[in-house]
C-alpha cells in the first residue's frame, strides 16, 4: 500500500480509526455527550476530506474506487451519520445508553457504507457489506432493556447471515464462470455466448437475492417491519437511508457494468420492483404503528429506485440516485422528528401522535412536510425524484412500472396522511410536552430545508449526480 493510496483512503481511515480510538477512550460513557460530539466531528471531517482531498489514484487494491462517485457517497453517508449522531444525544441519555460505543459503532457503519458505495470488485462488496451489517446487528439491539429491540436484532441477524451466505456463494459462482472478482470482468461472463453463462446467471441470481434482502424488496422484506419497530429510532433512520442507500449504490455499480441486462435478469428485477410497490403499499395501508408503516413505505420506495435502475441507461441511473439522495434526506428527517418526540417511550402508535400539532407545532409541521415528501407531493424533493424516475421509466419503455408506481403513490398518500390527521385534527389526550433539544431542532430544520430546496431547485444536485453516475 502506497502513500497516495493511503491519502485516497483518508476519509474512510478517519472513520474507522476514529471509531477505534473512540471505543477505547469513551468507556463507561452513559449519559455523556462528548463522545457524540467527537463522533460527529470525525464524521464531518471525513465528509470534508472526501469532498476536498484530491485523489491521485483511481483504485485501491483493485477493490475500491476512489473516484467522484465513491467520494460523493462517502461524504453523503458520513453526513448522514453525523446527523444521526447529533440528533440522538437526548435519546441516549434518557435511556441511559452508552454514547461512546454508540458513536463508535455508527462510525464503523459509516465506514462500511462508504466502502460499499465505492466497491468495484465482488470481494470488496462482500467485505464492505458485512462490515456495516455487523455494526447494525449491534446497533439494532442497542437498547438491551427493550425486548422488542433484542427481537429485532435477532431478526436482522439470522436472515442477514443467510443473505451473507447467498452473497458469498453467488460471488463464488460468478468467479468460477469468469475467473475474476473485478467488476467489469466478473460480469462479463453474463453476456450471451460467454462460456459458462448459466453458472454466471445462477451466481447473479444469488447475488440479487442477497441484495434484495438488504434492500427489503418483496419477497425478501419480512424482517423489515419488525426491525424498524424494535430498533432505536435514530438507528432506524440510518438503517433506512444509509444502509439501503449504500446497497443501492453497489447495485448501481454492478448494473452499470453490464451494457444490457442479461435476458432473465431484467424480468426478475422488474418483478421484484412491481411486487415491492404493490405489496409494500397494501401492507402499509393496514398499519397502525408508524414505524412499521415507514418500514413498508421503504419497501415501496426501494421499488421506485429499482425502477430507475431498470431503465438500464444513464438517465435512469441518475434518476435512481437522485431519488435515493432525496429519500435519504427525508427519511433521516422523519426519524429525527420521531427521535425528538421520544420520551420514555417512542411514539409508535398512531394514537401517540394525537394533537401533537398543538403542543409541538414546529416539529409537527416538519413531520407533515417530510411525510408529504415521502408521498411525492410538490414542492418537495420527493416529487422531483418521482418525476425523474417516472420520466426515465417512460422513456426507457417501462410504462407498466410507471403506472403501477403512480397508483402506488396515490394509495400511499392515504397512509402518509394518517399521522398528519392525528397530529392536526384530533384533540390531544394530555398536555404533556416533550421538550426538544436544540441539536434535534437543528437536524430537523436541516433535513426540512434540504427537502424543500431540492424540491424547488433540484438543478444543481441533478447535474452533480448526472456527472458522477457511471
Amino acid at each position: 500500500m502506497t502513500a497516495p493510496e493511503l491519502i485516497a483512503l483518508l476519509p474512510l481511515l478517519i472513520l474507522a480509526l476514529g471509531a477505534t480510538a473512540l471505543l477505547l477512550a469513551a468507556r463507561g460513557s452513559v449519559g455523556r455527550g462528548w463522545p457524540l460530539a467527537v463522533g460527529s466531528a470525525l464524521a464531518l471531517s471525513a465528509a470534508l476530506s472526501a469532498v476536498l482531498l484530491p485523489s491521485c489514484v483511481t483504485e485501491v487494491g483493485g477493490m475500491y474506487s476512489t473516484g467522484p462517485y465513491a467520494r460523493f457517497f462517502i461524504a453523503l453517508w458520513s453526513l448522514a451519520t453525523a446527523a444521526t449522531l447529533i440528533s440522538s444525544g437526548p435519546y441516549l441519555s434518557r435511556r441511559r445508553l452508552p454514547s461512546g460505543e454508540y458513536s463508535a459503532l455508527l462510525l464503523f457503519a459509516a465506514a462500511g457504507m462508504g466502502l460499499l458505495s465505492s466497491a468495484v470488485s465482488l470481494s470488496g462488496i462482500f467485505l464492505a457489506l458485512e462490515a456495516f451489517t455487523l455494526a447494525f446487528y449491534v446497533l439494532i439491539a442497542f437498547n438491551k432493556n427493550c425486548a422488542l429491540g433484542a427481537e429485532a436484532g435477532l431478526k436482522y441477524l439470522v436472515p442477514g447471515g443467510v443473505a451473507a451466505g447467498l452473497l458469498a456463494f453467488g460471488m463464488a459462482l460468478l468467479y468460477a464462470a469468469s475467473g475474476s472478482l473485478q467488476l467489469p470482468a466478473a460480469t462479463a461472463a453474463l453476456t450471451i455466448g460467454a462460456p459458462m453463462q448459466s453458472v454466471a446467471l445462477a451466481g447473479l441470481a444469488l447475488l440479487l437475492a442477497a441484495f434484495a434482502f438488504k434492500l427489503s424488496l418483496v419477497p425478501f422484506h419480512f424482517w423489515t417491519p419488525d426491525v424498524y419497530q424494535g430498533a432505536p429510532a435514530p438507528v432506524t433512520g440510518l438503517l433506512a437511508s444509509g444502509s439501503k442507500g449504500a446497497v443501492t449504490a453497489a447495485l448501481l455499480t454492478l448494473t452499470a457494468t453490464l451494457p444490457a441486462a442479461p435476458a432473465p435478469f431484467k424480468p426478475a428485477l422488474a418483478t421484484l420492483a412491481l411486487l415491492s410497490m404493490v405489496v409494500g403499499t397494501l401492507c402499509a395501508l393496514a398499519q397502525s404503528n408508524v414505524k412499521r408503516m415507514l418500514a413498508y413505505s421503504s419497501v415501496v420506495h426501494m421499488g421506485f429506485v429499482l425502477t430507475g435502475l431498470l431503465c438500464w441507461n444513464h438517465t435512469g441511473r441518475t434518476a435512481a440516485l437522485f431519488y435515493l439522495v432525496g429519500y435519504s434526506i427525508v427519511t433521516l428527517g422523519i426519524f429525527a422528528v420521531i427521535t425528538s418526540f421520544s420520551g420514555e417511550q417512542e411514539p409508535q402508535q398512531l394514537s401517540d401522535y394525537r394533537g401533537l400539532a398543538r403542543r409541538q407545532p414546529l416539529r409537527a409541521l416538519a413531520l407533515t412536510v417530510l411525510l408529504l415528501a415521502l408521498a411525492g407531493l410538490p414542492p418537495t424533493v420527493g416529487f422531483m425524484g418521482k418525476l425523474a424516475i417516472f420520466s426515465a421509466a417512460l422513456a426507457a419503455g417501462l410504462p407498466l412500472l410507471a403506472v403501477v408506481g403512480i397508483v402506488a403513490s396515490l394509495i400511499s398518500v392515504y397512509f402518509y396522511l394518517q399521522p398528519v390527521i392525528q397530529m392536526y385534527m384530533t384533540p390531544a389526550p394530555s398536555a404533556e410536552a416533550i421538550e426538544g433539544h436544540s441539536s434535534e431542532y437543528g437536524i430537523i430544520a436541516l433535513c426540512l430545508g434540504l427537502t424543500l430546496i431540492f424540491g424547488l431547485w433540484p438543478g444543481p444536485l441533478l447535474e452533480l449526480i448526472a456527472r458522477l453516475t457511471p
Binding site: T2, L24, R27, V30, P195, M196
Partner: protein
Amino acid sequence: MPLEALSISTAGAFGSELMPPAESLLSLGLYVAMAVGLIAFLLIACRLIGQKTHSKFKDQPYESGIDPTGPAQPGRPVPFYLVAIFFIVFDVEVVFISTWAVAYDLLGWSGFLQILFFIVILFLGLVYLWAEGALDWSPSRQRHSATKEGR
C-alpha cells in the same frame, strides 16, 4: 470404457480444464457408493438381527457405569460462551497472520506494516475487552460491569 471417457473429456468445448477427468469421477462415485452402502448395511443388519428387548436399565443413557443424574441440558455459565467466542475471534486471525508469514520476504516492508496494523488493531480490541471486564470470571466484577457491556 476408456474410449468413452476420452470422448467426454475432449468433447467439452469450453471449460474443459475445469472438468476433472472421468476416471477420477468414477472412482469418487464408487467410493461414495461403498461408504453409503456400508453404513446402510450396518444399520439394516443391526435392525434385523439385533435384540429388541426394552427394560428400565437398558433404556438408560450410558454414563460410564455411573447412574445418570440431573437434567440433560444443564445451564452453563455465560462467561464460558464469551471466552469461547473471543477464542474463535482471535484464533481465526491466525489464518491471516500465517498467510503473511509464509510470504513475508516477498511482501517486504509494505506487507510488514500492513500485518503490523492488523495486529495492532486486534490488540486494541483485546485491550477494549480487557478494560470492559469481559475476561473477568469473578462474579462480583461480572455484576459490576453488566451495565456497561455484554450486548
